[in-house]
């Protein structure tokens, strides 16, 4: 809780994140240091998988209950509601929408990521529980898609978040997204979906890439 070196300099912080004092209605003066009080300062750790049957069982369990964070980051999110509607009914495959990162294990990056959203996507990803997976929809996440020359959208997602599965299309249809979930399940069951550990191992590289683009980094290095 006391590793001050990770805290960015005060000047870059949003006003509400800076140290300040608050006087309550009853006259009590409270000192607030938002970064220390509200965020955990620990950096992520690599969690080695268990050995043998136990890990296999866990992976099976993980694969069959994919809880997706309901965050429509781009235009691909238009195809997510039909996925959870009666016609395609992803619930029966163990896929389910959750409203907050704390409850979810899968982050769907649905298409292009504007720089402003990238920041939120990174925070959402970091707030998710391990093990966590990332599905990338559409061309935009692979090599920029039709916004390859835009000044405000990233070109390749794998420089900022560890991606497990890419689904081609613009937009991928619900059927293709279901196929993507199947692929993710296979990947989890085979024990290859170690994105979170990869992220923790290469945190410096990821952070350098992220900070290159997010010019006003007004939050802790790692948002857990």
């Amino acid at each position: 809780m006391s590793e001050k070196k990770d805290i960015p300099e005060d000047m870059f912080l949003a006003p509400e994140n800076r140290k300040h004092t608050v006087t309550g209605p009853d006259g009590e003066v409270i000192h607030v240091d938002p970064l220390n009080d509200y965020f955990c300062q620990d950096l992520p750790k690599v969690e080695a998988p268990y050995k043998g049957v136990l890990e296999k069982f866990l992976n099976w369990a993980r694969a069959e209950s994919l809880w997706v964070l309901a965050y429509g980051t781009g235009c691909g999110s238009i195809e997510l509601p039909p996925l959870f509607s009666p016609r395609f009914d992803a619930y029966r495959f163990g896929v389910m929408m959750r409203p907050t990162p704390r409850q979810s294990g899968v982050l769907i990056i649905s298409g292009y990521l504007a720089v402003k959203t990238l920041k939120r996507a990174i925070r959402s990803y970091e707030q998710m529980q391990n093990p966590k997976y990332v599905i990338a929809l559409g061309s935009c996440t692979i090599n920029g898609g039709m916004y390859f020359d835009s000044y405000n959208t990233i070109n390749r997602l794998d420089h900022y978040l560890p991606v497990d599965v890419y689904i081609a299309g613009c937009m991928p249809r619900p059927e293709a997204i279901l196929a993507g979930f199947n692929k993710l399940k296979e990947r989890i069951k085979s024990g290859n979906a170690e994105g979170a550990n990869h992220y923790a191992e290469n945190l410096e590289w990821y952070k350098a890439n992220q900070k290159k683009i997010i010019k006003d980094w007004n939050m802790p290095t790692y948002n857990w």
Partner: protein, 396 residues
């Protein structure tokens, strides 16, 4: 107009306290207020945008819209794309209803270069535009119930929307991004048996709308939660440039299809759907009536359109389609209101400027910020959906 927010203000709002000049003061450190962010990752906001709400108790004191989460710089990208290349790019500017972008861009290009589209293509464009309107309304009309917890009809609506998407797939080759209307014409005739299948779908949708009436429209909870909420005073309509269902719900007869007839809408028989209460319920009601109008229009189009005809007018070679210097304004009626392109050509093969002004530009920023003041926090998403804000069209 008895039950408006202005009446509420007196008995509900203790805060913010006005200062000497009568301006409200919101001092966060006073501990009387909490700042709550609704969005960008929140099921209650439409799309990827954020509302910065300052609340006191369960009442919103101050609201600020934050957009830009979907900013892709389209208008910059158009500077690097030829006129024909702009067309696939442009449609991404409004994700739920892409066809209006295709239409506006195509029409603008045609106007600037003086091309007339064959009649058949015009009717096919109308089919695409009306189908697009229908599929959006099938999301937003039952979806309005979803904002206050009536999620079931919203789920049903998505299924009926799928039926229209199936027709789109058949007609245009795409589900969401149809890329059907292109400068010069359209990209395909109706497939065999298309009219019959569409008619079957329309019958199903009509039956479904009856169900929506029973489950949402005449639902006691829904009425209680939407009547008198989010009232837009009629004098705001012109002042803030509000259009579409928002203006019609306030008693204004505003519909681009009738006011500035484009394509062959002047040959069709339909009327303004007007309400007067100007609250969330009235806007819902206008949209509900729009569904019927759209279904009726689709039937009229199918009956009146020619059987055969040219797909596309003769245009210059699209690889170097040069357009002489000129400016134009193109508008069409989207499901949310007047959708407008301002296009400037400079005599090269690239457009100088294509500027989009969608209805959400005011609905989603100024109007929403105004309406949310003194609203109950549980009504925020209801008001937002009733304005049908679409962030990608604000930030482009």
């Amino acid at each position: 107009m008895s039950n408006t927010i202005f009446d509420w203000k007196k008995d509900r709002s203790m805060f913010p306290e006005p200062d000497k000049d009568g301006k409200p003061v919101v001092e966060l450190d006073s501990q009387k207020y909490i700042k709550v962010w609704q969005g960008p990752n929140h099921p209650g906001v439409t799309g990827n945008m954020a509302l910065e709400l300052t609340i006191s108790g369960d009442e919103v004191m101050e609201a600020k819209t934050h957009v830009g989460y979907l900013h892709r710089g389209f208008e910059k990208l158009f500077e690097r794309r030829r006129y024909m290349q702009c067309f696939p790019t442009s449609i991404r500017m409004c994700v739920p209803e892409p066809d209006i972008n295709e239409y506006n861009l195509s029409r603008g290009t045609e106007l600037l270069s003086g091309i007339e589209v064959p009649e058949m293509a015009g009717w096919l464009r109308m089919i695409a535009l009306e189908m697009a309107r229908l599929q959006v309304l099938l999301r937003t009309v039952p979806g309005q119930g979803g904002t206050i917890g009536l999620g079931l009809p919203a789920q049903w609506g998505l299924y009926y929307r799928e039926l229209i998407l199936d027709r789109f797939e058949e007609l245009t080759g795409g589900r969401i991004y149809h890329m059907y209307i292109l400068p010069g014409g359209v990209r395909g005739l109706l497939p065999d048996g298309f009219k019959k299948r569409l008619e079957d779908n329309l019958v199903k949708i009509e039956a479904f709308m009856k169900e929506v009436d029973r489950v949402v429209y005449s639902n006691a909870v829904f009425k209680k939660r939407t009547k008198g909420i989010g009232v837009v005073p009629p004098e705001w309509i012109d002042q803030y440039g509000a259009t579409g269902p928002v203006a019609r719900a306030a008693g204004y007869k505003r519909d681009v299809r009738k006011d500035y007839p484009y394509l062959y809408y002047d040959r069709l028989d339909f009327d303004y759907n007007v309400e007067h209460e100007s609250d969330v319920f009235a806007r819902f009601h206008v949209r509900r009536k729009d569904v019927d109008t759209t279904i009726d229009l689709l039937r009229q189009i199918m009956a009146k359109m020619p059987e055969k005809g040219e797909l596309r007018a003769e245009t210059p070679n699209v690889l170097h389609w040069k357009i002489p210097r000129g400016e134009t304004l193109v508008r069409c009626e989207s499901s949310r209101g007047e959708y407008l392109f301002y296009m400037v050509a400079d005599g090269s093969i690239y457009p100088r400027r294509i500027n989009l002004r969608g209805p959400s530009y005011t609905h989603g920023v100024v109007l929403l910020e105004k309406l949310l003041v003194n609203a109950n926090i549980s009504d925020v998403s209801s008001i937002m959906v009733s304005l049908a804000t679409c962030p990608p069209e604000i930030e482009r």
